[in-house]
Point group: C2
Chain length 316, copies 2
């Protein structure tokens, strides 16, 4: 497998490009936790997740002729919302293809961002996007396996490194690997002795298995869909993200569903931040073994939690 | 009534004094709200409220001989926690006198900050503090009617004015008036055309009545204790805060209990921030009439919400 280069220069250029379009999120002390923990609260991005960074960077890098033909996505999650948001910010049309069975609140959220929503049966989402892409010549931005997206996500690491020194460990949730590969590139360039540790649900541990076996391992959705951390259900890392992770990530650890739900509750009660299950994987890993990581930053990657899950977490 | 001077210089000096001891909280856009709303998230202070600013400023201004005799407080709320926190930061002992009926979780929170807790019957709290003060020569810092405290609270307005320009309105929860008088001094010095509007619960509207009648009006606790916004139950403004409010505050508006609870839920769901009922008064007032305030900053003053109230807010 050839390593596609994503360099610290790409990340720095992305940071300049997206400034003014994304929030410089706070790095908050977590004195309630044992040891020395800090939270990078990406849940405070206006659409609720780090995904806005990569989408914004990618949209700004589109050729003007492509821009005018608009953007397409079949993600009904944070990536789709980030695409809709970024498209609106630069004034181009976006179409999000969503399953007809999607919760109305999700559909309305995307519409409120000014995007068109096309509702289709769940298994026709990708084919519908393909058909629309061919018909319109619109651009599709991959949720993680895209150099522009990875560079954008890495910008949050630059902010962390600006705000805090002598960090032993940065803990990062892992789904398709777009976030952690961008963070890995930035951290290893600026502070090589800082460990970058990925966190996955035990029930969707394809990245850990890929890293330990040295080859891209896929987990069937029938397995990954068992976890409540819906942002990590991608069946495998990407062809671009995997080699970057091999180069820059020290280790991938896993957490249980119980640890994830407990971390949602703790983050609400103690940090006063609402984060989604995928967003608190990093907090869950830290709290499982605080002594192990030294001065740590946990990336709280997103806050778009289902209201039922939120209530459930507060009762366990 | 003589106006005790609190000047912009006091606020600027406080800002310098407390930097490094308090979090520079983020000013976050709230694109989900109609109009143009920004949130100053003081709920993200490490002990969960703006009170840390004033307490820290006051503690640093104590004479060294007084410091060594420690701090006393009978507040079991955010002020008590702020005192315990600030005392620990400068390495002096703190004693918090709390009612024996206080929730264990509150007592443990104060103990976790390294403070001694003295449990007494509720109506003996003030007398116990007085006795200990005489016995030890320890310092008692008033929760709001203190120039050092007011100056400290005002520092958050300097941050707001640094982060955003052309603000039409700053909305501020009002209890004893320590926060809004500090904010008023800072805003009127730096941006005189910006309106400073206080927000009270309809059920504890002593400050509105005082401002409109031109004299200090007291509401009996049997009235003020009806509101769920427990941070605003002080029976009246202070002798220092009231004249400062007369000088610098444009208006005080009120919100209903239903609007307060709805604002707690909205702030959690849309802004992904956990705030207490007193903390969201500003958001409740804005949402009641968004068109009225122009570009607005709502100070989200605290996030220490009772878990029962939190669950209740999420079900209404």
């Amino acid at each position: 497998m050839t390593v596609t280069e994503v360099t610290i220069s790409d990340v720095r250029a992305a940071a300049e490009r997206i400034a003014g379009y994304v929030v410089r999120t706070p790095l908050l002390p977590a004195p309630w936790a044992p040891g020395d923990l800090w939270l990078k609260a990406e849940s405070l991005q206006p659409m609720g997740a780090f995904k806005l960074r990569g989408a914004t960077n990618a949209v700004h890098l589109l050729d003007p002729s492509v821009r005018s033909r608009g953007l397409l996505s079949h993600s009904s999650g944070n990536h789709g919302q980030a695409i809709a948001w970024a498209a609106r910010e630069v004034g181009i049309p976006a179409t999000i293809v969503m399953p007809a069975a999607a919760a109305t609140i999700k559909v309305e959220a995307v519409r409120a961002l000014g995007a068109d929503v096309v509702l289709v049966p769940n298994d026709e989402r990708e084919s519908t996007v393909d058909a629309l892409r061919l018909e319109r010549g619109a651009a599709v931005i991959h949720p993680f396996d895209d150099v522009r997206v990875i560079s954008g996500q890495g910008t949050l690491a630059l902010e962390i490194l600006d705000d805090l020194s002598e960090i032993d460990t940065v803990l990062v949730p892992v789904g398709g690997g777009g976030l952690i590969s961008g963070v890995g590139v930035a951290v290893k360039a600026v502070s090589p002795s800082t460990r970058v540790i990925g966190v996955e649900p035990e029930l969707a541990a394809d990245a850990r298995e890929s890293l330990s076996s040295g080859r891209l391992i896929s987990w069937d959705p029938s397995l990954t869909y068992r976890t409540i951390a819906d942002g990590t259900r991608a069946p495998q890392l990407g062809k671009i993200t995997f080699p970057l992770i091999q180069e820059t990530v020290d280790e991938i650890v896993t957490v249980t569903e119980e640890e994830i739900l407990a971390a949602v509750a703790t983050t609400i009660r103690r940090a006063r931040l609402v984060a989604e299950p995928s967003g608190v994987l990093s907090v869950a890993a830290y709290l499982a073994d605080p002594g192990r990581f030294g001065r740590s930053v946990a990336v709280l990657s997103g806050g778009n939690i289902d209201s039922g899950v939120l209530k459930h977490a507060l009762t366990v």
